[in-house]
Symmetry: C3
Subunit: 474 residues, 3 copies
């Protein structure tokens, strides 16, 4: 028999009874607040079409690189898990994939994936056994049956999850049809887009030249010329705002920004779009475009997010066989001080400009990012990201940023996920860890309990709404 699954009401709280009591009291005031998710990667099609999710393996395993990368690291083939390759969707039997996952469940001990998974199984599906090799089939059947019911369609889950707002992320060549369909539907769920132009900015992206061409088609601008290219961005930003966007997002290899004069920027663009740019010029163009995007944000008010520092597709053979986003992106040491200076010297003192900076290099929290966010009016810190979106990672974020940047130069939580069902689990984890941190400050008499209660609500919802300008319904 498998052991019983259980969500302990005090999970993620400090063990010391006095601190735990404070954490529990703080959490009780924020646990039922609505979910505000201003940055993520769910598929808007789910909410426009509201079709049932396919099966447990396709829902849990195929899109979740946290799960399949761990299995892969211990010798499990991606194809056997149903993860799509460049040849298309794997034809693996989903139940076999699920069993394989369950047989390796011990690999996830001590990981956030384990906490999220357990939360979803217990809370969303009402499962009472822990997942392991013995319970795999029964749990598969329970989930599979549930997915066929109305209550487990995407919109019903969205409503049940108490999501006030969910942002997705789209490319400038996306038609936004799904967002338009959602808006035109009678359903009241608020699903908005965000403008993520990497594919038309980063000439190292494998789709760059194709995307640039479609960017011209979709806007009617001559995107092979600098002025037309900038106009196309402006036009699409307006389109995205009409689909609810309040932010842009930029996932460059580094945080480099540049501030070239217009002639130099245009000459650089010409080299990039004609394929003549070398690696340094490609990097400089990305850098210049961050500053161009910032300039447009001053015009149109979109909040700007920078997510740098991932060495993408580190595993060449896996990239060749399976493509992007297969768990082979690895963080690298990232400088922010010199990198962001050109952009900040132009726009850093503008209180109406919102620049949210993320990092995969935790060494920058206390050394660079908190000091910068604690000075520049425009700059705020995004939450602990990706590999660091975990109990220990979130705690390090607070411990290393709060004393210099305070809480009010941070922007609340992002779930940043493709795994829709894990969204409540992720926000719950963030709320618990923040309450645990606040409780320690209270117990050490570094914060009053009243202030901590205010902060718990601010960290759970209010800061996100303010930083992402979400107060007005779209």
């Amino acid at each position: 028999m498998s052991p019983a699954a259980h969500l302990h009401e005090d999970r993620l709280f400090p063990a010391e009874p006095g601190v735990r009591a404070v954490a529990r009291a703080l959490y009780s005031q924020v646990r039922d607040l609505p979910i505000v998710s201003p940055h993520g990667h769910t598929d808007p099609r789910w909410f426009s079409q509201n079709a049932p999710f396919e099966n447990p393996a396709a829902l849990f395993l195929a899109p979740d690189h946290y799960l399949f990368r761990m299995l892969y690291s211990q010798g499990v083939a991606l194809d056997a898990l149903g993860v799509p390759s460049r040849r298309g969707v794997s034809r693996t039997d989903p139940r076999s994939a699920w069993r394989l996952f369950a047989e390796h469940i011990h690999l996830f001990r001590g990981t956030p994936s384990s906490i999220w998974l357990n939360h979803v199984l217990v809370e969303v599906f009402g499962i009472t056994d822990r997942l392991d090799a013995r319970s795999a089939d029964a749990i598969y059947d329970t989930i599979d049956a549930a997915l066929k019911t109305e209550a487990f369609r995407p919109r019903a889950l969205f409503d049940r999850f108490n999501i006030e707002l969910l942002a997705t992320t789209e490319s400038p060549v996306d038609t936004l049809d799904h967002h338009h369909a959602i808006a035109a539907s009678p359903w009241g769920g608020r699903v908005v887009t965000a403008y993520r132009p990497d594919a038309v900015i980063d000439a190292d992206h494998e789709d760059f030249f194709d995307a640039l061409e479609r960017f011209g088609e979709i806007t009617g601008e001559d995107t092979m010329r600098w002025q037309g290219y900038l106009a196309a961005h402006r036009q699409r930003r307006v389109d995205f705002m009409a689909a609810g966007a309040t932010s842009t997002d930029h996932g460059h290899p580094t945080a480099a920004t540049a501030d070239l004069d217009p002639g130099a920027a245009e000459a650089l663009f010409d080299r990039v779009v004609t394929g003549k740019a070398d690696a340094a010029e490609t990097e400089l163009f990305r850098a210049q475009m961050l500053t161009e995007m910032a300039a447009m944000s001053l015009e149109d008010g979109l909040v700007m997010q920078i997510h740098p520092g991932s060495f993408r597709n580190h595993n060449a053979a896996l990239f060749a066989s399976h493509g992007r986003d297969k768990g082979a992106d690895i963080p690298v040491a990232t400088d922010y001080v010199r990198a962001l200076q050109p952009l900040l010297n132009r726009f850093g003192n503008e209180p109406d400009f919102g620049l949210i900076v993320f990092t995969l290099d935790e060494t920058s929290y206390a050394r660079e990012l908190a000091p910068m966010a604690g000075h520049y009016p425009a700059m705020k810190l995004g939450p602990a990201w990706w590999f660091h979106d975990s109990p220990e990672g979130m705690m390090r974020f607070r411990e290393q940023t709060t004393e210099t940047a305070g809480f009010y130069n941070t922007v609340g939580f992002n779930d940043d996920t493709r795994a829709f069902l894990s969204i409540p689990a992720r926000h719950d984890m963030a709320r618990r860890v923040d309450c645990a941190f606040l409780a320690r400050l209270v117990a050490e008499h570094r914060l009053t309990e009243d202030d901590a209660a205010d902060l718990a609500a601010d960290l759970a919802c209010n800061l996100a709404k303010r930083a992402y300008k979400l107060d007005a319904p779209n």
Copy 2:
């Protein structure tokens, strides 16, 4: 009504009752020890003239970049806070500035500034309400009235604070008149200087050429020639020692040192003082001068402090309008291993040479600085500095340096502050955090309670006296 202000007797101690009891016992043995402040930036004029402090805003806000940078980061203008600009002292009404500060007091939740401020208001001024928008005027009045009394003049506060020694920091072109006046006065307070020659060493400093000229005038040496320049340093080091100095201090962008032969050093100097040096030569000259200063320390016994790794004046517009020290200095990643090797290879094995190294890059604690200080007889670790002079920062310092360098290769606490009234608060915080760290080691049976008691006193006073050679009265 504003909530009551309160300094909890157990603040900053761990919550677990057993550990807390040990921390409390250790702290009770060091709380009343005198304050030894071997490195800081208070104004010696205060103690030579002993004039009343002007008003609450001028005393608290204008000199404290920890406070005004946080306010600035949330859109508050420096001028509205009374922070001086290049056009001179702001003509802001000090009460308005104080109100603006009080209205934004929530920004400081969880920061060391909040703890220091609360300590000063309660302990120094006897205030019983917490500062916020409602209490702002009443607290302003209380402080303002106190400042007009004899008991709140600088010397009276110095004595009340139980300060055994306070070091200030002066430039080689300073006449040291205030120190001479203090020495000549009947007042017994021990206020000493420290030799900080950056302005005549760093050709990137905006005052470099002016300072070099005054350096010649004040010494009668030809400071445009290498031998005269070195002789001027030697002469002023003697002058500073006569004003109580036991240390020098060096705030270069990096920790780079060099060991050029005399001819090459002279040729480099010639290029620097004739304005021909490029960026690399300017850096090399700073590097060479650290080794020259070390050589002089071997002659005259002054302890040498290196404070590297701050990217100064990151915000160009703010530097243009408001000048230095306005909260826009940002730490950068800093290498010590290669940087310090030239100096250490010459003088690192000298047990009589004291080299105290600081960092703004916490990654160097366990990786570089503790291993180096745990090996070289000359080298010691300065305490957690600037952005890291905080409960979490001090704790990380101990956690990451003790196991490799021990406690006895560290030098006790530096308050390093311009905010005179916060000095007792800062030393109290350091003593509490050190006792909290020691208490955990005791509770985990890694240290005996007897050894911890010895250490608490060593960390509070004795190590600073020994490392800075303060045992003999000046």
Copy 3:
């Protein structure tokens, strides 16, 4: 009178009673498991000859750079401690050396050395006083007398310590005579070697050219030609496997790997062995050889260990007088993402290839190493190493790697020591710290107590056996 020595049964466990109870329960299940030591630097001569250890100073001080570096950092001369120099063994009276050590014992407060030393004195020698200046002579006498008895000969201690396997580390020019003698003896202790070819790979090593020549003599291959050189490696790897080796070990300055085509590799080798290689070529050759070693590991199954990031012999004067391994090796910032990519792109997806990577740069735990080990089938993380092999260091390792790599991409504990008597103390520390970490996860409801019990045993023994392929007796 000296204070009583005492090993508290709860040492290194968290103070909070609930967490401590869990830690104690977990530890009780692993404390008596045998010691598996797959990586270390003890002298195989001890076990082949089984002669008595010489005296307390020669046993404790002379080989232990953790101890003498701390004493040296506070002005104690190495010669006075009996540490050998290039002129040979110091003629210091061992009792005087021991007294000097005891007089400075306060320097070790809060360090792992203090915990290890106390453990050895109490557990191995039954000493009841703490070592200090007063007890120095009596403790010296007790140890000295014990060392003259049969029960304190190396093999008897090995058996008493319950060591299941102990790996030493030898150079390719070692005859392995001591290992052969151990194997031929009736004694059943399992002492194996490991292949550490740095001296014939690293042209910056002071013995490189001599070692290369002896490498040719011992193998009969022409080690001045590329094919002969590679054949010599292959031959010696077979010899080492015959002496029980299951692993190779590589201590390069960086983690750089390369994947040159065969012609380029051969041309590079020619420049290196003829002394024509510059610094970059010397580095490239080391990098290429890691990939060559990996290729051989795919053939012969030896697990590959990479230990990079130490700046060796930082103190030039000390290196001149005393040579290597005198406490003057300092860690430096180390990149793994770009450095390991060439090797991983060739062999990282091979589940049968075992690559164990260590670091002295803790910033790489969460940022680089855990993400890489959590993806590549071949790669595993070595435990906290050298300066980080300490309670705080081990805890940071778990806190910063577990959430991304899990426990099963780590390889258990290495004591990595030259100090034979400290081996049980070091394994005990590792088991206690791991149980403390697991206990916190249990107390925070992030791990079940059953899973934690499994993990405690895996971390204590099983992972090491699996990762180092030690299951079959040699």
